[in-house]
């Protein structure tokens, strides 16, 4: 779970996000992500991985690490990251 505060459209952000989506989707064990952002407020992105090993591939990707550094230096005012293990899930869909 990645929660962040940043300006609306920092330079280079959209392109980097597109590239990160490409990379993460190639990782075996990546299950998907959901993202929401309140205009002028915080953004929350939740990414799901099958196991620690597949998450480690993402964490150790050098291109991802370079973008993380760039984000701390240029884009984000603040963020928090929580890593956890999903224990149970429920869903509802009327559609």
């Amino acid at each position: 779970m990645f929660t962040s505060i940043r300006p609306d459209n920092p330079e280079g952000y959209a392109e980097a996000l597109d590239r990160m989506k490409e990379i993460v989707q190639e990782i075996p064990g990546f299950l998907g992500y959901e993202s929401a952002r309140t205009p002028g407020g915080i953004g929350i992105t939740v990414a799901y991985f099958r196991d620690e090993a597949s998450l480690a591939v993402w964490r150790q990707n050098t291109e991802h690490q370079a973008v993380q550094r760039h984000g701390r230096e240029h884009w984000y005012d603040a963020y928090s990251l929580h890593v956890g293990k999903v224990e149970r899930s429920y869903s509802f869909d009327r559609r």
Copy 2:
């Protein structure tokens, strides 16, 4: 982690949300929450509890359960709920 799709301002929603915030904040072991919503898109709310026992108090609160039922009947098109255990956390703040 609660991810939902619903209309922008369903009837009774804002009042119920205010009431739910009151109730949950009284629960010992409730640590806080973060919420983001993309206009016209999905909303993600992440609530943090100290342990399973404090989460159970929230889950079993009868007023909360009544609002959940009302939400399924009247507000939400779809939602998913994932319950998990935070294993590690990182944060960054330049401010």
